[in-house]
């Protein structure tokens, strides 16, 4: 079967799963909805509780979950290829720690950074993410021509530790309620309550996805090693730079939208590889679509398991991802 056909079938199947998830998720929830009432044009929207639950609460949540899941899964694939390490995640290079620090600061020291209908926490979080990306890139390119993936990895890990200790310090300075809220933010929350936060994150994610579309062939060759790849005509430095920035941008936007939701960036790529093989031209689109469906499903669980309490979605992904990851490790060894 030609590659084109395989890509087509893969996108069709995984795309179908993603679309099905996005269509079904808003219909499922802790409150029984009457679809007839939801779409009843006769009733003014401002009085229609069912319609508001559907269009203000569930649908934005589903879209946010799909976008964040897609972004984190795709970024996971790209980072794993960039670092040539199957245990790498979108959070390995310090982006989420920077985003978390930005969010902590915004929660603990409320300064008005609200911008275009988005509250200060996502804005500060994204700024933190960009800051972390800049620091890591600077560290890995200073004093050398080109990008050393080893230094990139070390810089990312160091930044993660450093920012984590800054986060602990901020939590120490905060009062009890703020500390509780910052800890809760770290577990992920997709209840965006409207479309403004999604629209604010969308341009950055879209930019990331556009670059992702260009990368698969180069990533295939990059996994053979930098020398082997450049011998086959890949501009290694440009590929690494594009991979790093696009994955970091998508991750930063995703984390500022829904918090640092773990395990998607590692479970989804590995699961997809089990299904379609290791060719990035299949793995990348499939992971993007499957990541969307996966997080949409996890979010449905998070908002229905202990209703009316909203469980942090990061707990659901961890409960699913943890055992899976252990199984993966055992299987590999």
């Amino acid at each position: 079967m030609s590659l084109r056909r395989r890509v087509f079938i893969t996108v069709l199947v995984f795309g179908g799963v993603a679309v099905a998830a996005c269509l079904l998720a808003p219909l499922v929830g802790s409150t029984p909805l009457s679809l007839r009432r939801v779409f009843d044009r006769g009733l003014p929207f401002r009085d229609n509780a069912d319609a508001q639950i559907f269009f203000i609460s569930r649908l934005p949540r589903t879209l946010a979950a799909a976008l964040v899941g897609a972004a984190l899964a795709a970024a996971g694939v790209v980072i794993q290829a960039l670092l040539r390490n199957p245990l790498a995640t979108p959070f390995t290079l310090g982006v989420s720690a920077g985003a978390a620090l930005g969010a902590m600061l915004a929660i603990t020291f409320p300064v008005s950074l609200a911008f275009a209908g988005v509250s200060s926490v996502p804005v500060a979080s994204f700024a933190g993410a960009l800051g972390a990306v800049a620091i890591v890139y600077f560290l890995s390119t200073v004093r050398r021509r080109g990008l050393s993936t080893n230094v990139l990895l070390l810089a990312g890990i160091t930044l993660n530790s450093f920012f984590s200790s800054l986060i602990l310090f901020v939590q120490y300075l905060a009062d009890f309620t703020q500390t509780f809220r910052t800890v809760r933010w770290l577990m992920g929350d997709l209840d965006v309550g409207g479309y403004a936060p999604i629209l604010a994150a969308l341009p950055f994610m879209a930019l990331g996805f556009v670059v992702f579309a260009w990368l698969p062939r180069s990533l295939n060759l990059l996994t053979l090693g930098a020398d082997a790849a450049s011998a086959r005509g890949v501009d290694v430095l440009r590929t690494q730079r594009l991979a790093f920035f696009s994955a970091s941008l998508a991750t930063g936007a995703a984390v500022s939208l829904g918090g640092p939701i773990g395990f998607i960036g590692i479970i989804v790529p590995h699961l997809v590889r089990l299904l379609v093989g290791a060719d990035h031209r299949l793995v990348l689109p499939a992971s993007t679509l499957f990541g969307a469906a996966f997080l949409v499903a996890c979010d449905v669980l998070a908002r229905t398991l202990l209703a009316p309490m909203d469980l942090p979605v990061g707990i659901i992904t961890a409960l699913v991802g943890g055992p899976f990851f252990l199984w993966l490790l055992i299987r590999r060894s």
């Binding site: 229609n48 509780a49 508001q52 009062d175 309620t177 209840d191 309550g193 009316p308 309490m309």
Partner: protein, 308 residues
């Protein structure tokens, strides 16, 4: 020569050990005799009180023990007199060394700070453990505090006054139909993300019941729940009480916070304009000012029975 030096060293070491032991022995000799809190307080009321719990600091000042308070927690800011007092940390980081150096007689700590209590007890300092509870815990704690610091009479007066005011609220709203009340004590500023609401347990929930309201989450056996916008729409409260504390809010901020609820116009409270923004620390510090909080909340729930 080596043997002589060795002997001298051993002798010096022994001498130092004896000095240290003597020091310990004498401090043990100076230890206060073990006695019950109340018994000691009657004869020798504590003169130097340290409080790590802001709610109890407010109680101390209310019962007239304020002049005897020498240090407070990092988060205390009421009454204004505490602003000049020494700070000794709080729940997570109490500075036990500083407390001991202050020669405190009684230290108010959280009931969960068992390690701090153990350390203070080893230094023979009396502790007053504070346990969080519902609304009835307020007067019970005030009375217990009065006994511990030797101000029983003043404590009784304050407690009776609080009970009278709470009883007045109860009477004022008696017989009125109970509206459904959602009490939100935390959310992201300017939006409806990360909403923390009061569950069926705790002093906020007790105040809603006292003030003649039906907490929409009264069935949840927890103090707080993180809820989604769907849960707010499904609960359909008649009244939303939106608490803000810490630094005050400017009028623009108040308008912006009130406007945040307009994204859910189907909620009866939003539709009928019954979203109340209440600003102040009295809503979250369970000290004597909780009665002011209860009166404010009662006025929101039953404005037709307002007396202030």
């Amino acid at each position: 020569m080596g043997a002589v030096v060795g002997c001298t060293r051993a002798r010096d070491t022994l001498a130092w050990m004896l000095v240290l032991l003597a020091g310990f022995g004498s401090s043990a000799g100076r230890a206060r005799p073990a006695a019950s809190q109340a018994g000691a307080a009657k004869t020798h009321p504590p003169q130097r009180i340290v409080s790590v719990v802001p709610a109890v600091t407010e109680m101390l000042f209310a019962i007239g023990a304020g002049p005897r308070v020498v240090a407070v927690s990092s988060f205390d800011n009421w009454p204004p007199e505490v602003r000049t007092l020494t700070r000794v940390g709080a729940l997570l980081d109490p500075d036990v060394e500083r407390i001991i150096r202050l020669r405190a007689d009684v230290v108010v700590v959280y009931g969960t700070q068992s390690d701090v209590q153990a350390q203070l007890e080893r230094a023979h300092i009396t502790t007053f453990p504070y346990v969080l509870g519902g609304l009835d815990n307020l007067t019970a704690t005030i009375r217990r505090l009065g006994a511990a610091v030797g101000s029983q009479a003043q404590a009784e007066t304050v407690a009776l006054g609080i009970e009278a005011r709470l009883g007045a609220i109860r009477q004022r709203v008696a017989g009125q139909p109970h509206p459904r009340v959602l009490l939100v004590f935390g959310r992201e500023p300017g939006t409806l993300r990360a909403i923390d609401a009061s569950g069926g347990v705790g002093f906020l929930s007790d105040i809603i019941a006292l003030a003649g309201g039906d907490n929409v989450f009264a069935g949840e056996k927890r103090e707080s729940l993180r809820i989604s916008t769907e849960a707010v729409l499904a609960a359909a409260p008649d009244i939303i009480i939106d608490l803000h504390y810490g630094s005050g809010l400017t009028p623009e901020q108040i308008d912006r916070e009130r406007a945040a609820w307009k994204t859910l116009p189907a909620v009866p409270a939003v539709r009928n304009g019954r979203v109340a923004l209440l600003v102040g620390d009295e809503f979250v510090v369970p000290g004597p000012r909780l009665v002011d909080a209860a009166e404010a909340i009662a006025d929101v729930i039953h404005p037709q029975r307002r007396t202030r």
